[in-house]
């Protein structure tokens, strides 16, 4: 049967329908199209209109402890640097600025030293920094810090540009994109998922990739599958444009603890970084409050105070605006990536929490390898989507 939509009528059913035009869906579409597959991307809202447009665009290895997510991050960092950044050009605003993690106390510095030793053994480039050397790396840092670690491989992109540019390349390779089109159901043939249903028509496809970020649980539910991906809210403060005041992505060692914590209540630790536009971005808060978009002044105040604690010079710098987003968070903080045995034909690429921009290229490459029947270049067992099923 031919697929029919109001906006466009393809000549044949695509190989794959990707649900979600955030960075992960876009990276999956791009990699699949590059592998020769025909792709349709279906997005309920706008391109990068969810989580992808609400972060800072970090490509981090520094906040990953040895394990499967670090492996994914290392592969992704390489793909961003060697493949996508040259391909997508200067509008990507790819900056290999490096990350600097700082420890406020000697206990935290000792703990950070243990982390960096383990990361180094796992292939991460990282240099321990003595307290006395911190000012040469970041001149405006608070003077009373106990030490730090420098990660030259941490980088940053403009996440909305990254998503749009990647999707443009996918389109050049033949991918069709339907924005403002919600997936309201999945087509089935027995257990098998054989396409997606939208208000503008059915889209039969060889496979469906669920890349709907914090909404991916809803898409999975359309197949009768439980996918425990929940939103974890975060705010970002944007300062007035500054000259080159903050050189790296700078954050406190407590941030890694916040990322892996299971607390529902507010957690925050200062994460400060510049952008090519001159503004500084200040994060990072984590709360489980559903999809509540209400501005939370106490959270913003706390982020600002923590940033000033790290960079006292910021006390006099105005904040222009703030924004918020929802990270797709899984119970064990690992992505859900791969085919769902409960619904053959359905693959998930979600649950990247706050690391989706960084992890997208490897995710896309792995999904494309699965779709074309190639052996995935990373072991996907730790990411299997059904691992939480009772």
């Amino acid at each position: 049967m031919l697929a029919t939509t109001a906006s466009d009528r393809p000549t044949r059913a695509p190989d794959v329908v990707v649900v979600g035009a955030g960075i992960v869906g876009t990276a999956c579409a791009f990699a699949a199209a590059r592998a020769g597959l025909s792709v349709v991307v279906v997005e309920g809202g706008a391109i990068a209109g969810g989580t992808s447009g609400a972060g800072e665009g970090n490509l981090l290895v520094s906040d990953k402890l040895p394990g499967p997510e670090l492996d994914l991050a290392l592969l992704s960092a390489r793909l961003w640097r060697d493949d996508l950044a040259p391909w997508l050009g200067p509008r990507l605003e790819y900056e290999a600025k490096g990350g600097l993690v700082v420890a406020p106390t000697s206990e935290a510095a000792a703990e950070l030293g243990e982390t960096t030793a383990a990361q180094r053994a796992a292939g991460v480039a990282v240099t321990d920094v003595a307290a006395a050397d911190l000012p040469t790396i970041e001149p405006y840092l608070a003077p009373d810090l106990a030490g730090g670690a420098h990660y030259p491989a941490d980088a940053q992109v403009q996440p909305i540009a990254a998503t749009a540019l990647l999707l443009r390349e996918a389109r050049t390779l033949g991918t069709r994109v339907l924005t403002g089109t919600r997936v309201t159901g999945l087509l089935r043939a027995g257990d098998r998922v054989t396409g997606a249903r939208t208000p503008s028509g059915d889209l039969p496809a060889g496979a469906v990739v669920n890349a709907a970020g914090p909404w991916s649980g809803e898409v999975a539910a359309l197949a009768g599958v439980d996918l425990p991906v929940r939103p974890r809210r975060g705010f970002v403060l944007v300062t007035a444009p500054l000259p080159h005041v903050v050189r790296h992505k700078v954050y406190t060692a407590a941030y890694v603890g916040d990322v892996v914590s299971d607390e529902a209540a507010l957690q925050s630790s200062a994460v400060v970084e510049g952008t090519p536009a001159g503004t500084l971005l200040i994060g990072a808060s984590r709360e489980r409050v559903g999809f509540d978009r209400t501005p939370a002044v106490p959270v913003l105040r706390r982020l600002a105070a923590q940033a000033v604690g790290l960079f006292p010079v910021l006390a006099a710098i105005p904040v222009l605006r703030t924004y918020l987003g929802f990270r797709p968070c899984s119970p064990d903080h690992l992505p859900l990536l791969g085919p769902d045995p409960r619904a053959p034909g359905l693959l998930h690429a979600t649950g990247h929490e706050g690391a989706g921009i960084g992890l997208a290229p490897a995710t896309g490459a792995l999904v494309a390898q699965l779709l074309t029947g190639e052996h995935p270049e990373l072991d996907l067992h730790p990411f299997r989507p059904e691992r939480f099923a009772a």
Partner: protein
């Protein structure tokens, strides 16, 4: 007695309650900042404190919104060229 502030050295009078931006506009001044990269002129755009286009330097403090700061007698107001805090550059 009329109240006034200085604007790049010239005297600008204002009525109590006016913002710096309103007082400048009343004198026919439409721009008081240049952009960081291309040196383009900027003045009031949204006029309600949202867009941060109308920045100027007030009594030595840069990045003040002309549309939000109430004019006070004796203020020293300056146009802002490029980044307001260029001196911080490392």
């Amino acid at each position: 007695m009329t109240e006034s502030f200085s604007f790049d050295g010239t005297v600008v009078t204002f009525r109590p309650g006016q913002t710096i931006g309103a007082a400048l506009l009343a004198t026919g001044t439409r721009s008081w900042r240049t952009t960081r990269r291309k040196g383009r002129l900027r003045g009031l755009f949204c006029g309600i404190g949202v867009c941060f286009d109308c920045l100027l330097t007030v009594d030595g403090t840069p990045d003040q919104r002309a549309c939000m700061v109430e004019a006070r007698d004796g203020m020293e107001v300056r146009t802002q060229q490029g980044v307001g805090r260029a001196g911080l550059a490392t």
